[in-house]
Structures are given as structure tokens and as C-alpha cells.
């Protein structure tokens, strides 16, 4: 159990709360009226040298270029696939953005409705039109395994500090895990182990705002899988 006492107390703010009236720069999820910075969403106040912002506690995933996401094929066109990435907008995957040479109208030979793919967000324009790509290393169709969904704001907790949490879960359950920035997580492994990994991740999703999360998850996995693998640090 490590305690960091130097950490300032978390301050939860609601929309309309004044964050700063001394001229600090407005950060994410804020708005400014008459030089005063107000919170625009329910979240945790975050003040640093760049300004004052709010880290949201919930809400929909909004794609950013470069995000690694997991999506499910929704619909097939003759030159593109529509992918559901849990954003407020549809995400088309064009045939020029996949690692195969696809003939016009031959899209369903490569990816079909219900297939799960690991993608990268290529661009989001002003009108919030999204484009995704599979043309990057490691991006591919995910076969087998299972999906868990958690609020996207909890993704950083599942990964943990420099990947500590996810490394621990991977090592202890011996599963292959991919985490999408959009809160969709793909897990593949031995049946019982995968089940425990799913439960552990769901647990993080539920208790993300509480303390000593890593300890709790470790305890949980140790209880469920008594002969789990060693914990790698």
C-alpha cells in the first residue's frame, strides 16, 4: 500500500462552477465568460502550468486523430465499411485504408458485419466527419476472444501508470489484451483466465474513482486464480 501524501486533494466540479478568475488559461472542457474560466462538464479539476481544465468523469468517446480504437463492422458499402467505434458519429473505413487490395464491390470478402477490428483514427474534421485506418503496424482484424466495454474515461485506469495495471492483469491471467481508446477492450485467453480478466476490467470500470485500485485488482485475481502467474513489475 503506497500513499502519496504530496498529492493535492481531488476537487470534483459540476458544470457552471468557477475554476479560475485570475486569468489562468482555459483548458479542456471549460468555457470562458468575462475572463473567468468555468467548468463545462462534471469531472475533476485539473490545474497545471498549461492552464486549468476538467478531466471528465463520464460521457461519450470523442475520437482524436491517432487514437487506437476497437470497432465492430456495422455496414458494408462497395468501397467502404462502416465501423461502430462508440462515437457519436459513424466511422467509415475506406478500402484504401486497409492492408489488402480490395476490388470494387468485393468488400465483404475481407471484412463482414460483426467482425471486430483494431483501428486507428486517421482524421476528424471540423464537421466531425471521422475517418479510420487499418494501414499501420499492429492494426488488424481481431478473431476470437471477447469484448468488454467500459466508459472511455476509465481507459487510463485500466492501463495504469506506465502500463502497470494492464501488465499485471496480462501476467496474472496469461491473456492477450488490446485496449481501445474508446473503452472497448478485447481479451483472448484460456476460458477461465479470460473470464477473470473480464471481471477484473469490469471491476476497474466500476471502482476507477476509488483508492488503491491496483491492490484490489491484484487481490481479486489472486482469489479467483490461486495459481496465477508471477507478477511482473
Amino acid at each position: 500500500m503506497e500513499k502519496r501524501s504530496a498529492r493535492p486533494a481531488r476537487e470534483i466540479v459540476v458544470p457552471g462552477d468557477i475554476l479560475d478568475d485570475s486569468g489562468a488559461k482555459a483548458g479542456d472542457n471549460t468555457y470562458t465568460v468575462d475572463g473567468k474560466v468555468y467548468a463545462a462538464v462534471l469531472g475533476v479539476k485539473n490545474k497545471n502550468q498549461y492552464g486549468v481544465g476538467v478531466i471528465p468523469l463520464g460521457g461519450r468517446y470523442m475520437p482524436k486523430p491517432g487514437d487506437m480504437v476497437i470497432g465492430m463492422i456495422n455496414d458494408i458499402g462497395s468501397s467502404n465499411w462502416m465501423v461502430d467505434i462508440r462515437a457519436p458519429y459513424p466511422a467509415p473505413l475506406h478500402v484504401s485504408e486497409v492492408p489488402w487490395k480490395v476490388e470494387f464491390g468485393d468488400t465483404s470478402r475481407y471484412l463482414n458485419v460483426g467482425n471486430v477490428v483494431l483501428l486507428k483514427v486517421l482524421s476528424v474534421d471540423e464537421g466531425k466527419k471521422i475517418q479510420v485506418t487499418m494501414n499501420d503496424s499492429g492494426l488488424r482484424r481481431l478473431e476470437g476472444g471477447r469484448l468488454v466495454e467500459i466508459p472511455y474515461v476509465k481507459v487510463s485506469r485500466v492501463i495504469g501508470k506506465s502500463g502497470s495495471m494492464i501488465q499485471m492483469i496480462k501476467n496474472m491471467t496469461d491473456c492477450r489484451i488490446f485496449i481501445g481508446e474508446n473503452g472497448i477492450i478485447w481479451i483472448d485467453g484460456d476460458e477461465r483466465n479470460a473470464e477473470v480478466a473480464v471481471q477484473a476490467i469490469e471491476m476497474i470500470g466500476e471502482h476507477a474513482h476509488k483508492g488503491s485500485l491496483t491492490e484490489r485488482v491484484k487481490e481479486f485475481i489472486e482469489k479467483e486464480l490461486p495459481n496465477a502467474g508471477e507478477v511482473g513489475e
Partner: protein, 245 residues
């Protein structure tokens, strides 16, 4: 405002039939995040009113012709359950619920930062489980907490409350008897940080002085409600200690 009665709504000490003083609102209970499957939700009790609000979105707007390429639209549905009133309410949309849905959506549009989500739709569903006058205000109060709970960017949370006139007295937060046998009912909703009014309706008759007094009472009541709305949202994330990462 519909009937007459020999009931004494305000006695000579200024006390109302439920024991409140003229400037007192009913007991309020607000809870955020009560539904697991909606993106955001809230449950509100104001006196005998029981209201549930759920929010979905922002999501793709259907039907497509309603999409606005410059901002998100807010679609609101206000619905009364058949068992919400003493005579069974005929289920489904009626003129009254269409009106309330419209004014609620318009009030919420003033605070939600809709320009962040062009072409999208934010759907608000308000269910009246039990009604005792003032459900439009309770519904709007619940809806704005649900929106904040859904993580939707907004300028402020809006509280709503009614003031009115019964037995010749200006009263805050009318109950059913005062609403039915009173002379006027003025529901209002404000943006607490600026005191802007985003909803104002009036039913019945009042003098200018009485109206000003009613607004004064209702704005005060809104600020009380606002504190409770904030508390409800903070309470949702209040348990548990510091984060460890």
C-alpha cells in the same frame, strides 16, 4: 385555476394547507445516476412529485432530416405514466406533453454546448411517475442533472420551480390544491450563474406587483434547488478515497 373551493389555502397566520410558509418550497430529494443503461440519469422527488429522467447521447441523429450541420439538437420526451394521477391518465402523447417536451428542450438548449457536436442528437426522456402539480419544473430539474451525469458539456445546471397565487397570497412551489383552486401559476427556470431566465410561463391572473414578487420567490427557490442538484452530482462520486494512480 380550474375550480373553486371553500378550502382555506392560506390561513390567517400565513400557513398553507401542507404546513409550509408562502416562501417555502416542498421537500426535495435528488439522486443522480440511478439507471445503468442510460448515459445519464436522475431521480427527483419534489413533495409528492416523482420524476425520472434519462439522457442518451450525443449520438447519431435519427430521423436524418432533423440533423443540424452546425450543432447538436436536443430531443426531449416528457411522458406521464398512466398511474401518475388519481384518474388514470390515457397513455401516450397529448397536447400538454408535446408542449412540455418543447419548452424543456428549448430551455436545455440554452445551456448545453450543442455546437461541439454537429449533426448529433441528445435525447432526453422524462417520465412522471407521480404528479402533484409542478411536474414540468421537476422534469426539467431532473433532466439537467441527468445531462450533467451523462458528461455532456454545458454552461450550467438549470433548476426550475413554480411560484403562483392562491387565496390572494403569492406562494412558492404550488401544490395540487393551490394549483387547482389558486389564481395563478408561474413556472420558471433559470441559469444560476447569470440569473438568466430560460423558461417562463404563466397561467391565470396577477398584478404586476404580484408577478414581480412571484419571480423573486421563484428565483430564490431555484438557487436552493441548484444547491441540491450540485450535491446530488457530487455525492455520486463522493465515496472512496484518493485515487492511487
Amino acid at each position: 385555476m380550474s375550480g373553486t373551493t371553500d378550502m382555506i389555502l392560506v390561513d390567517k397566520d400565513g400557513k398553507r394547507i401542507d404546513g409550509r410558509m408562502p416562501e417555502e418550497h416542498r421537500a426535495v430529494k435528488i439522486e443522480a445516476g440511478v439507471l445503468a443503461n442510460a448515459d445519464g440519469s436522475a431521480y427527483v422527488e419534489i413533495g409528492k412529485n416523482k420524476v425520472l429522467a434519462a439522457v442518451y447521447g450525443p449520438r447519431e441523429c435519427h430521423p436524418r432530416h432533423l440533423q443540424d450541420p452546425t450543432k447538436a439538437i436536443i430531443q426531449c420526451k416528457y411522458n406521464m405514466q398512466t398511474y401518475s394521477v388519481s384518474d388514470r391518465k390515457r397513455p401516450g402523447t397529448d397536447r400538454r406533453s408535446v408542449e412540455i417536451s418543447k419548452i424543456t428542450a428549448e430551455a436545455l438548449e440554452k445551456v448545453v454546448l450543442t455546437e461541439l457536436y454537429p449533426r448529433a442528437s441528445i435525447d432526453v426522456y422524462i417520465e412522471i411517475l407521480q404528479a402533484n402539480a409542478g411536474t414540468r419544473c421537476a422534469g426539467l430539474t431532473a433532466a439537467s442533472v441527468a445531462l450533467a451525469d451523462a458528461g455532456i458539456p454545458m454552461r450550467d445546471i438549470i433548476p426550475a420551480i413554480a411560484a403562483g397565487k392562491a387565496d390572494g397570497h403569492v406562494l412558492l412551489d404550488l401544490n395540487k390544491e393551490e394549483d387547482n383552486f389558486g389564481q395563478a401559476d408561474v413556472p420558471i427556470a433559470i441559469v444560476p450563474s447569470t440569473n438568466e431566465i430560460v423558461l417562463l410561463q404563466m397561467d391565470g391572473n396577477m398584478t404586476r406587483q404580484e408577478f414581480d414578487r412571484a419571480i423573486e420567490l421563484a428565483v430564490g427557490g431555484c438557487h436552493d434547488l441548484y444547491k441540491l442538484q450540485k450535491e446530488a452530482l457530487l455525492k455520486r462520486y463522493g465515496d472512496g478515497g484518493d485515487s492511487d494512480e
